[in-house]
Symmetry: D2
Subunit: 303 residues, 4 copies
């Protein structure tokens, strides 16, 4: 299939869209991003890349990092990880903390904030230097040592992330945070601040489309583990718009408030979009359009 | 792949399982079923069938019928259907009616009871003789005129289905039932009482694995519509165990309290299991095991 | 204290209020009431009455009847009544049915609809001819045989009361309705349709301010029982505005969507207001103002 | 009435009770208290005191302090206080934070933890040296300079109060905490650590039974303000057992996890009990029994 011309057409068409969403401003640093940015990058199963627009510009990957932290933690902790975090969709935009109370401190899944905080806690228990070791893990996956945290974004979120502080303390009150709450939060804010381009993300997430083997061919997770994380991305990767994404795009994926979306088609390809404007549900407005068009035009969804 | 020997091995192994669940008893008629029943049927993309155990014995398909009603309603009503029912997982085992209140009478998805009641209401608005016309639709999909309702089961549920009566009246109070509540409930109880074998179900659901074309080659829905229903099955087909099913089995599917489970792998195959004992979440205990083994052994999941 | 001149002043002042609320229209018959109606009646501990405005005109007492049904059921069933209904405020305007689900069919208190339905069910189990026997009970309390149901209102609510049908069926599904759901609902709709004037209500409720002895001196409940119902009225008599009423008025009481409010000061007096316009929380707007002024001017609250 | 002999009888009888509850252990320091302690103190309207048992031994007043902080804040801030905290019962034992989310950061009432944190924030905005100024306020009310904080208890709760840290941060995320979260929490933990005897508490709370005038005759709040706080105590003073307390005891009051209960009968008396064992709802088991017996024997409830 001629992926390049498909990307070019989608890029031109979505670029004209009037439905561009709004740049996230609750993390002050993120509010400074140019809203007209738009990039797409596709890496096929033969490791051939295709790009359009700002595919090489770095942005804050935010919640997309949760999938990477989950994969590192799953590798280190094994199936015991599921004793501390469930794999069900949260299904509830209203009250992110209330389910946590009803379910006694077991977050619904590892891709909501509460679940990601538990994953951070698990990583801290395993790693000597969590921030550096996690960064090395991502660099190694991507085969790219230039990947780094964005200190300004991390500090900006640290000052305003009261809701995450609330979640971490509630988890601690249920005994589902083992380390110091402040260490967990610090690691979490850094993890979310990772700055990467569409291309770098596609290289990093390639192993989810390649049965666990990274772009250099090293096995990071086995097929069974990859299947599980892909299933979680499909069910839980888009907050309360997970069903909508499965329905419109039909791929496992994960979005971030920085405007990035990563999606994978097992054994076929990995695709990444970036456009900072978010829709009402907090997912990149133009990214959603681009991905829906992509699977519609190519017929390459998992359904 | 030698599907027959895979089915045989799984059948023998799961048959010995000590984790057999409990037969549903809240619908009195269902409580009379022999708990030792166990059948598997697989229909591959070339319409070749493989079976093990009680694959030709009929059972009450119950909630599996919701997918068939949804597909008929989607065909008749088109995308307007999504104005009256959402496509997000419900995510909540505790309070099936409360989300309905919070979200002003728009059910979370068409596969929970409240959503299925709205689908029944939509069908009643379109069909002259809803019960007969829906039955004809299913018979036509399966190419099998022997399929029928089980009057005893329908009457049994009618006498005890207070929770569904509650849901229908709550929907009516929000204006999301247009016809008489009692007509909607009557149709709903009949729809759920459909009696079919694993083989008949596989034949019927074949079109979800065949881009909308039924076993006789007639197109019932287009590819885009099929994709959407498959996505909904994956996200919402197993109540609050949807994530677990996606995670362990990795296929779109739907279960019923009669002990049946249908799952499809688009463009590959359709598989149906039946074992009346249910696990704590209300899904067939042995069916779940059989399907997990099947995708693990064959590697044929969508993830 | 010169109650008459206090009532006259309050009547004149509140009559000018611009904050008159909106007449309930969800029961069609209620929507036909003249919104300018306004009456006050006070019966002191010596059975001396004081009135202002439309104090002798009958209106639909609606939820005020729940207190009377509760008192009859408490007398017949004794303390076992609290096994089937709790005495805590519901505290939740959003989702009236969801608490019922969380708490497994035990309504929060007997003055919310779900609780009143359970009380109706208890009465049906005790009474030979529930509708007539309850009517006789109220007539006997008031010493007034002219009190009667309003058939039109009862029928009007019967046609539109889907939410109550939902609640009754949900209760039935939890086993907390013992009789036929339709009998319970029929009795409930009639009970709410009682048509009484401010004066008749004051005469009826006198026994709550008189240690259980009615206006003719007969003991209907003992002091301990009266204390309990007064406490329930204070905590739960005004839906999610119960705290506000306790706070602004400082008396046990009960409102109805017909615009009536009854309030009692134990061993001091019973006061009833009627003005059909309701505030946003569903309580009579002018009635609330009149009662707040009354306890503020006289200092006669329980706090 | 011979209060002394009533107290003596109740003391002897409740002392034998087998239903003694369990001492709170979630704040480690509180777990060290002797569970056999039991004291009662009554101060009548003529300032005459009556006592039984350990009425002069100091204990941690915990949540009882919330009423005192509320009264100081109400005096300083006036009615604007109700813009930041509501006056409705919370009605929900399950999910203390979820209502906060549904209601956008406005706590249900000032006597639940979230509400008390907002009150602390209001006091910090008004007071130069909040901890000292609040202590002086309490000493002045009680006419007793020996009252003080218990440093050990304050530190103990500080180390384990993750749930309160969660609540404060959630409030901050909604903009309903204006000062530093850590300052608010520090003040809150100190406030709760106040150590007082039954007698000291009765002297302090006397002004709620005396139209706002303290034991020395100084007016701290006006009658209207006192009425309002008494109403709030009745509706909200006992978490999800508020209705039960109104029902069984029939007085405005407030309990603390240290085992203390304060109750007032406006213009009649103030009564305080202390017994460290708590019932399932977190209120002093023997205190509840003693107070229920007191109002039953004397007939002196507000209902």
């Amino acid at each position: 299939m001629d992926f390049q011309s498909v990307l070019d057409e989608i890029y031109e068409q979505v670029k004209q869209s009037e439905n561009r969403g709004t740049v996230a401003s609750y993390i002050p640093e993120l509010g400074k991003v140019d809203p007209s940015k738009f990039g797409i990058y596709l890496l096929d199963h033969d490791k051939k890349g295709y790009e359009a627009g700002d595919a090489n510009e770095r942005f804050s990957i935010q919640s997309i990092s949760k999938v990477l932290a989950l994969s590192q933690a799953f590798g280190l902790e094994g199936p015991d990880i599921w004793k501390r975090v469930d794999v069900e969709p949260s299904g509830d935009p209203f009250n992110f903390l209330s389910l946590l109370e009803l379910e006694k401190g077991i977050p619904r899944n590892p891709l909501i904030n509460a679940g990601a905080l538990v994953i951070c806690d698990i990583l801290i228990s395993h790693l000597k230097d969590p921030k550096q070791d996690f960064l090395n893990y991502v660099r190694s996956l991507a085969n790219d040592d230039s990947i780094d945290y964005d200190e300004k974004v991390a500090q900006s979120e640290k000052k305003t992330g009261f809701r995450n502080v609330a979640a971490a303390n509630l988890l601690k009150s249920f005994g589902n945070i083992h380390n110091d709450v402040s260490d967990v939060l610090d690691f979490y804010f850094y993890q979310c601040s990772l700055s990467m381009s569409c291309k770098q993300l596609a290289n990093t997430f390639f192993f989810f489309a390649n049965r666990g083997k990274c772009i250099r061919g090293h096995e990071f997770l086995n097929l069974s583990q990859i299947k599980r994380i892909n299933a979680i991305m499909l069910s839980c990767g888009f907050y309360d718009e997970a069903g909508e994404f499965a329905f419109r795009v039909g791929l496992p994926g994960k979005s971030g408030v920085g405007g990035g979306i990563v999606a994978v088609h097992p054994e076929k390809y990995c695709i990444v979009t970036w456009a900072p404007g978010l829709n009402a549900k907090g997912n990149s407005a133009m990214g959603m359009q681009a991905l829906e068009q992509f699977t519609s035009r190519t017929g390459l969804s998992i359904f």
